[in-house]
Structures are given as C-alpha cells and as structure tokens.
Assembly symmetry: C2
C-alpha cells in the first residue's frame, strides 16, 4: 500500500509550505491546489468553479426542488465538486506515495490508513504576518481585518469538514500529530514530522 500523508491546516499557519517541503524531502507527490486541474479534467467543470467550491460546506439556503409526489433533491455545487474531487484523490492515492492538503483527505482516503497531521499556529500574529506576506496584493489594511478574514476561512474549513467527514475539524482525536508552526517554524515542523514518520518504520 502506498504511503499517504494528509495535512489539515489552519489558514495562515503554513500548512501548504510544510506539505510542499515535506514532499520534496520524502520524494512524495504533493496535492493541494494541484488537484484542481485534475478535477477539472475528470468533471468537465471549470477550474474557477472547482476552486470556489472545493472546500465549501453545503449552503443552508440552497433551494430544494420537489417533484410530483416524490422528493427530488437538486445537487449543490460543493457536492458536485466534492464527488469529483474525491474520485480524483482516490485515484492519485493509488498511484504512489502522496501528500494531500485539505479537502477532507483524511476522511476520503481513510482506507489507505493515512498519517494524519493537523498544522496550526497558537500565535495569531504569526498567522497574520504570513498572510500579509502572501496576499500583499490584496487590499486588506488593518490587522483586525486580516484576523477577521483568517477566522472566517477557518470557520468555512471547519464547516466543510464537519459536513463531509461528520467529525469536528481541529479536534485532536481526528489526527495523529498536531503541530504549532508558531513554535517550531515551518522547517522545524517538517523535521518533527520526519522524526514521527521514522518512529513508525
């Protein structure tokens, strides 16, 4: 069986960078936004549409469609993307050792017995600073606004995870290792993960 690592991450904690560096060190395939193109090919949906809905929970306000005497349910965009995305992830996980970031990968790939990591930063300033560096082109001016954005995206990720995996996002019991990047830095976090992988070999 291929070795699969899944990374869930708080927004701005550096989870994507941790995953990329880890993939380079281990020579694993790496899938985060890289999935979008493959999902587009699989589903014939546009890349923009997939990006918009790839980690979105169901909308409560989405209309339900009732037919004659039978209940008829109209599929939502996020479900449409989740179905195609899950199919692609399962195929890729069968191809070789891989790291998947976000997208309920720990749940979707549970039969591959993944090594499940949660990346967070206990220090909010660390996240704000990382976000400023990343989105300097955005018109986000104050730290207060940036914090609001960070917490909003975390909330969306939590709702998405809770809807599709039916488990609480960020709850320790859903992961094997949870690491605070604001304590160890991105490089240190990668070193800890490699030490953890070595204990399992």
């Amino acid at each position: 069986m291929n070795k699969i690592i899944t990374i869930s991450r708080q927004f701005g904690s550096g989870g994507r960078e941790v995953g990329k560096r880890l993939a380079d060190k281990l020579n694993y395939a790496y899938y985060d936004k890289e999935l979008i193109n493959a999902v587009a090919k699989e589903s014939h949906l546009s890349e923009e549409y997939i990006e918009k809905y790839s980690e979105a929970a169901l909308s409560r306000s989405f209309p339900l469609v009732f037919g004659n005497s039978f209940y008829s349910y109209s599929i939502q965009p996020s479900e449409q993307v989740q179905i195609a995305q899950s199919k692609v992830m399962l195929e890729l996980a069968h191809k070789g050792d891989s790291i998947f970031v976000g997208r309920c990968a720990d749940y979707v790939l549970s039969e591959s017995n993944p090594f499940k990591i949660f990346i967070y930063a206990s220090n909010m300033d660390f996240r704000i600073e990382r976000c400023y560096r990343r989105v300097s082109e955005e018109k986000i001016k104050s730290e207060k606004e940036m914090k609001k954005k960070i917490l909003k995206i975390d909330k969306q990720r939590a709702a998405y995870y809770e809807f599709y995996a039916d488990k609480k996002w960020s709850a320790v019991g859903n992961y094997n290792l949870c690491i605070d990047t604001s304590k160890f830095g991105v490089k240190g976090t990668v070193d800890i993960i490699i030490a953890a992988l070595n204990t399992c070999n």
Copy 2:
C-alpha cells in the same frame, strides 16, 4: 530561565509514562503525583485530601455562605488544594529544568514560557488496554464500564482545566505539540518530543 515542559493528557493515553521516560532521558525533574507530598508539607493538608481534589473542578452544589450585609465566600476543597499546589509548582519550576504532568501546569507556569504538550490516543482500545494493565486490581469488568470511567475522568480534567485556566482542555491552540500515543507508542512519542525540542535549540 529553567526549561519547563508541561504535559496534559487524556486518561489512559500514557501521558505519565511519556513524562517519566522523557525526564529520565533529559535529566529533568519530574512532577506528577510526586507533587502531592510537597503540597502536603506546604499546606498541612493530608495527602489523601490533596489527591482527591488535585484535579477537581469547583462543585456547583457547594454551599455559599452569606454573612451579615457582606457577601462571604467559603473556599472549596479544590481551590484550597489548587492554591497550595500552584505555589509549590512555581517554587519547583524555579529550582531547575522540570516536567509537570496535569494540574493546569501550562497555565500556572505560563510565565516560564513552558513547552506545552498534549498527549492523547485516537484509538480508544489502546486506552482501555492500558487501563486494564494498570488497574487490574480494580473490579472493573467490562470494556463498556472501563470506557465509561475513561470518559468520566477526561470530563473531570476538562472541567478542572476550564475552570482554573479558563481555556478549553485538549484544544490544539493551548499546546505546542499534540501526539497520538496509539499511533506512535510511548517510546515513539518520547522520540518525537525530543526531535521537537531539538528544533527549538
């Protein structure tokens, strides 16, 4: 400043054993139940009394005492123990490099900038088996009963932490590293912590 490690732990996850082994490897002092004797000396309370209330939350049903026109509050046993315990922990933390298990140590010793660890086991069977080994003399017969006991003690620890530290027990953001002993074993967990410590040096 002395190096301080605090370990919070789910019941049955092996947190105490992790702490002891780590203290041996690092040559740090180790305090878990070992605190009870020192607290007894400090407070003149009995060891049994301290053990009973050392990680107990306030009781909601504890009577409040009202004096004449002034509100008078009668100190609860758990508060009495927590005050003496905190004083002893602060003194010990000033004596040398130490590991403290439980007892809101991360909160009590926050000014020492401790390395904060949460030990858990995502696999309940792992915890049940550890508890059976440890309490074979107890008359706990079924796995169901053992699981009930484990969850009850976790609930008490959570209530205690939430009361005194005013934070959510087991929430990742309160710790620097959260490790699943049912994935890595006690020995592997110690290795991971040492790798993490090395990244900070």
